[in-house]
């Protein structure tokens, strides 16, 4: 279980997060919704410790992670699949997957790779191709596959649907659900609120660096404000 309580993050003089508290229970899908600049990505970056919180508590299974470095967060099984995919463009698909298991023993790499191919068979066909030459959807699949190579307990997904065709978005969301069924908790940041609420157990709505609203998917779907602002009517 991962939990944040009253986390503040500053970029210079800008308060990006003003006291965020949230919780990801084991085996659940939790989504973070909100407009541009609400602090969704910053929250994920804070969890993977790319940015430093000014104050607040951050715990994983009861242990404080506030002082840990990004590499030890990865070792604890919290794997962040960043916005804009950020695959290594000059690496082949295979190298991208191998580096996803950077902190793992070499023996398990082949096995994990097969698992990734079971979710994304197309990556197997593209194995030797440079990641920079893949299409957007394939790059997103590679980015998720790369994150899976690190055997996440909690997978942080930042805008997996960004810039993709609706058909591919559907495909990726159903795979996210499958990944969750195999035991990985997921914290997903999405602009596509409708899709995100549909697959998640619990959602938080961020506004200007604070949590404006939270609830189970059912509650949010029936909430008038959410319908008006995020679900389009």
């Amino acid at each position: 279980m991962l939990s944040l309580s009253d986390v503040h993050v500053n970029y210079g003089h800008v308060n990006a997060l003003k006291g965020i508290s949230l919780q990801v229970d084991d085996g659940k899908i939790v989504s973070l919704l909100g407009a541009n600049g609400a602090g969704k990505t910053t929250t994920l970056k804070m969890i993977s410790r790319l940015v430093k919180p000014k104050k607040g508590a951050y715990e994983m299974d009861g242990k404080s992670m506030i002082k840990e470095a990004p590499s030890s967060i990865v070792k604890k099984g919290v794997i962040h699949c960043p916005e804009n995919r950020r695959v290594f463009p000059l690496f082949s698909v295979e190298e991208n997957l191998i580096i996803g298991a950077y902190n793992k023993r070499n023996k398990s790499v082949k096995q994990e790779m097969e698992k990734v191919f079971s979710y994304f068979p197309i990556l197997k066909d593209r194995l030797k191709q440079k990641a920079g030459t893949l299409s957007g959807g394939e790059q997103q699949m590679l980015a998720i596959g790369r994150a899976l190579m690190g055997k996440p307990n909690i997978l942080l997904l930042d805008e997996p649907s960004l810039g993709l065709a609706p058909k591919i978005v559907n495909e990726i969301f159903s795979i996210i659900k499958e990944i969750n069924k195999s035991g990985t908790s997921i914290l997903i940041v999405e602009q596509n609120a409708y899709k995100a609420i549909e697959i998640s157990d619990y959602s938080y709505v961020l506004e200007n660096g604070t949590i404006a609203l939270q609830g189970t998917s059912e509650e949010l779907k029936n909430n008038d404000e959410v319908r008006r602002l995020y679900l389009g009517g």
């Binding site: 993977s48 590499s71 990865v74 960043p82 290594f88 950077y102 690190g150």
Partner: protein, 288 residues
Amino acid sequence: MQIIVSGLIFGCVYALVALGLVLIYKTTEVVNFAHGEMAMFSTFISYVLLTSYGLSYVPAFLLSLLFAAFFGLAVYFVFMKRVQNAPHLNQVVLTLGLFMVVNGVAGLIWGYQQKSYPTAIEGKPFQIGSVFISANEILIIILTVILMLVFFLIFRFTKIGLAMRAASQDTMASELMGIKVTTVFMGTWIFGCVLGGVAGIMTAPLTFLSPNMMSEVLILAFAGAVLGGFVSLPGAIFGGLLVGVFENLISYYISPEMKIVFVFLLIILVLYVRPQGLFGGRKLMKKV
């Protein structure tokens, strides 16, 4: 033929310096202008070990490379790590400052008069076909080839190599893979400085030892690196060798004073035709 071979020997030195420059640039995006001076300092250390402490060549060579490694480590932790997130121009100016400081300190300690530096292997040159070559020159070539191979293998097949290649593409994504980017940068500075140290020790017998011995070498190595595209390791080596040969040809057929002028003319020409350098074809566009 003799001119080309002698050019290749100088080219090996340029290639080694260029390799260190490109290695550091490629991974950390900083052009280390102090590279030559740091190499010079390590060379002086080996000189002191050889003359004052009477060590024989091989231990002095290895100890001074150990010093070069620590020097690189110190420069990274004391200076470069603190400005890692500053604009690149600031970082480059810092290395320029280091250039002057290291040069000045070496001058204060050892003075500016030139000293002769022993070669690794003594002995008269011998003849192969129409070319005269000394055992020491052969050693320089062999050493360069070995170092190139070692670096190629490290880069291609080891975990640290994978991490270095990843960090050079995207530091943030590398952090998210669990790579300790600070450690990778540190390793890069160490490798780069050791390469520089080797180049310095190889240069000293050819140019004499003095605090200013590396400045021209650095400029020409820089030229070689630019020719090769500045992001490609094979490019750096090829560029270094090309500059060495070209410079020697100019010295012989035109005049030694004109060599730098012509080397830069060559660079202007190459960059005019191929702005990304000979090997820099796959310039990375960063997505915003």
